[in-house]
Amino acid sequence: PLPDDVSGDHDFQLFLRKSLEFGRKIKGDVAALQDVVCETFQLCQEEELWLVRQHLDVPAAPLERCQRPGFEADACLEQLHGGLRVLAHSLGAVRELLPAHADLVERLQLDAANLSSNIQQQMEELGLPLVTFPPEGPGVLPAVASRFHQQVGSFFLLRNFQRFLETALRALRHLAR
């Protein structure tokens, strides 16, 4: 677990403040990309896609150690680190679907990977090296048949990412208190 006095540590507090700001930035870019998916594929309302959703296997990153009752600071940071890597990797599929917005998607991938490595470096500096597993799969949404399913897959990937970030920001704010 994190050292007891870390919450008062200036560097850790600076790390949390920067991570919060970085998270807000990424969240803004994910929302912008959701708008692009809505505009480009006319996929805007989640409730219209529940049926198709059942046939998709969209990557989602667990964050139960960032929420009550299982909240644990170091385990939460480890899940954030791992989840950001998976989501950054999975965005490769979205990039293929939206070539005209490749810059935005690439920036999002870079930012997510950056925030993940910032967490890793911070944990290393606290003497808690994180185990890093290579993200599985080539970044393509697994087991999708048609182009429509890929588009729906990207819709839910971004929605999962948005929720992941909402939970992450709540946890970071809690740690920063």
Binding site: R17, K18, S19, E21, F22, R24, K25, K27, G28, E106, R107, L110, D111, N114, L115, S117, N118, Q121, E124, E125
Partner: protein
């Protein structure tokens, strides 16, 4: 060929010694006999005397030493007499100068439109061909392993270049420095330890509305918004205002992003027209101010006449 010229070092420190050797193979020099070979030297157009001797395997050899070579650039020629004419049979280009000067005054700015980090620096005059690169080390492991990567290289003698987003690590300190290398050595600038986000050049905020406050003739409400590209950021902003009669701006410093969407200010003269502008920067050392926002004007309320 007929002759070959070798130099111990074609690039030397200005004023130091240069040794050269010209080897002539008579059998390849148009029927010249070994006894007829007289090797001569020219430094550009200045004749020099070498020490000629027989070399191995039937060659003729001349050695030359320039004790204090102090031209920035020169051509060293090896010549023979052949059929009554002077023949240039081999040449080497010599250069002299100094190791690169230490680059200085390194500063960087992050452009929020593409998240490229543009750095600039001052460089001394280069006496020799010099390759310059901006080096970046993101993590401590990279720094300690000496595995810095080249962020960018300035083009044709310029003193700035831009590190692309993919080589940056945002929200984490990086070490950045300039490395200049020529044949005589390498010089490195001081290391800049920055988080690229702390040197972001922000786009100006927008003054959306300035309204007099009913019942408070000396107060106004200033409605403002940070630029979209910095909507998620911690900010330090300042507001300036003045009326046409006043030459100097009055300044309201240390306005944080939390003061959005509106700021309440008092202490204004009644019934007076004021012009307002706002600018923002990152709340970190070395941050750059945005440009001032476009100005917005308002006339404060007249004071209500006192009841008799």
């Amino acid at each position: 060929g007929c002759a070959s010229l070798s130099v111990d070092s074609p690039i030397v420190l200005l004023g130091s010694a240069v040794s050269a050797s010209c080897t002539v193979r008579a059998e390849r020099c148009g029927g010249l006999q070994r006894a007829q070979i007289h090797i001569a030297w020219l430094l550009d157009s200045e004749p020099l005397a070498g020490r000629q001797q027989h070399g191995p395997a039937g060659t003729e050899l001349s050695n030359l030493t320039l004790p204090h070579f102090n031209r920035s650039q020169a051509r060293l020629w090896c010549l023979l007499q052949w059929n009554g004419t002077r023949q240039r049979v081999a040449m080497a280009e010599l250069r002299a100068g100094y190791p690169p000067a230490k680059p200085s005054n390194l500063s960087c700015m992050l452009n929020l439109s593409d998240y490229g980090l543009t750095c600039q620096w001052a460089r001394g005059a280069d006496s020799l061909p010099t390759s310059v690169a901006l080096k970046c080390a993101t993590s401590r492991a990279q720094r300690e392993a000496g595995a810095a990567l080249t962020g960018c290289s300035p083009r044709d003698g310029r003193h700035h270049c831009t590190v692309p987003r993919r080589l940056l690590q945002l929200y984490r300190h990086m070490e950045i420095w300039v490395s200049a290398r020529n044949a005589l050595g390498t010089a490195e600038s001081e290391r800049l330890r920055i988080d690229p986000m702390d040197v972001a050049k922000l786009e100006p905020p927008a003054l959306q509305s300035i309204e007099p406050l009913p019942g408070q003739p000396d107060c106004v409400s200033v409605g403002w918004r940070a630029a979209r590209s910095s909507a998620h950021m911690e900010l330090q902003c300042e507001l300036r205002y003045r009326s046409p009669e006043e030459p100097a701006w009055a300044l309201v410093p240390n306005i944080s992003e939390a003061a959005q969407p509106a700021l309440r200010l008092c202490g204004f003269l009644c019934g007076t027209r004021y012009r307002f502008q706002l600018r923002c920067r990152r709340p970190s050392p070395g941050a750059y101010w945005s440009e001032w926002s476009p100005g917005k004007e308002v006339t404060t309320q007249e004071k209500a006449p006192a009841a008799r």
